[in-house]
């Protein structure tokens, strides 16, 4: 029997992996995303090792305190997301809706703070065409921000469905699948925050 944290809804399961189709599909998508971000990180490493003089010391150009707050927010949003999932599994509709709304708000706040960060960096003439530092910074954080934005939009759809009573203790597939995506986006940011801002 599966662990209670991953109880399978009564849905068609793939015989090989033992999980339902939507979940397997999301995992396969996320695995392709691992390689996508690894390619970006690999490119970043080769450029940074090759031209270390093009990068400023941590905190000289990028605003680490603001980004640290944003990192904390994204971690918080992962908790609210997983609490929404727990609410769905336990059949607690009010908890599901509350935690989903909080996740949307925190996710949108993350995007807003990133836009604020970009605005001030551009004001200081730190732009994508500034050089290797600027181009790699905007490419990596921009692609991640795009993923977060898409996640917020999908989460809004799932939240709307939750308010219409689409999820229950016997079918919470939509909540779990968007949750996997959301946690992955958080996971990627944990890596990016370290290598782009702190190193």
């Amino acid at each position: 029997m599966a662990h209670p944290a991953v109880l399978e809804p009564p849905a068609e399961a793939e015989p090989g992996s033992g999980v339902y189709n939507e979940k397997l599909g999301m995992w396969v998508f996320l695995l392709s995303e691992v390689m996508f971000f690894t390619a970006l990180i690999g490119s970043y490493i080769i450029l940074r090792f090759g031209h270390p003089e093009a990068w400023a010391a941590p905190g000289k150009v990028l605003n680490i305190p603001v980004t640290a707050v944003n990192t904390f927010l994204l971690i918080c949003s992962s908790v609210t997301m997983v609490k929404a999932y727990a609410g769905a599994v336990d059949g607690k509709q009010e908890a599901l809706k509350l935690w989903l709304v909080l996740t949307v708000i925190i996710g949108a706040t993350f995007v807003g703070i990133q836009v604020y960060e970009y605005y001030h960096l551009i004001e200081k003439a730190f732009i994508p065409s500034q050089g290797l530092y600027g181009s790699t910074f905007y490419t990596m954080t921009g692609f991640h921000g795009f993923h977060v934005t898409m996640g917020v939009l999908c989460m809004m759809f799932v939240t709307w469905k939750a308010f219409r009573g689409a999820y229950s203790a016997t079918d919470y597939r939509g909540v779990e699948v968007i949750g996997l995506y959301w946690h992955f986006v958080d996971l990627v940011w944990i890596i990016l925050f370290t290598i782009v801002y702190l190193i």
């Binding site: 599966a2 662990h3 209670p4 944290a5 991953v6 109880l7 399978e8 009564p10 090989g16 992996s17 033992g18 999980v19 995992w27 396969v28 695995l31 392709s32 691992v34 390689m35 690894t38 390619a39 990180i41 690999g42 490119s43 490493i45 080769i46 090792f49 090759g50 941590p58 905190g59 680490i64 640290a68 990192t71 904390f72 971690i75 918080c76 992962s78 908790v79 997301m81 997983v82 609490k83 727990a86 599994v89 336990d90 059949g91 203790a169 016997t170 949750g179 996997l180 946690h183 992955f184 958080d186 996971l187 944990i190 890596i191 925050f193 370290t194 290598i195 702190l198 190193i199």
Partner: protein, 91 residues
């Protein structure tokens, strides 16, 4: 299918762990250590945090073994890619 007793991992404990590790990262980044030491410690902490998210928030720890193997499939490829580009400047 049982719906009566759903025991979830302690998500708040994981959250506190992630917050504490982030605070440690921010401290380590500005310590007067050698650059190489700081990079190694920060990467270790980042991977630790990423593992916590994957194991507890994405529930990989509780998934069937076959599912975990599937999730780990691209990791060797990712490591090969990163090592390959690093060695570009060593050889």
């Amino acid at each position: 299918m049982e719906q009566a007793t759903h025991k979830h991992p302690n998500y708040i404990a994981v959250w506190i762990g992630l917050a504490v590790l982030t605070a440690i990262e921010l401290t380590v980044a500005f310590l007067p250590w050698s650059k190489r030491t700081i990079i190694l410690v920060l990467i270790f902490l980042a991977l630790w945090k990423a593992l916590m998210v994957a194991l507890y928030f994405m529930h990989l720890r509780f998934e069937p073994t076959r599912m975990r193997i599937l999730a780990a499939a691209p990791l060797p490829l990712a490591v090969i890619l990163v090592i390959a580009v690093i060695t570009e400047f060593r050889w």
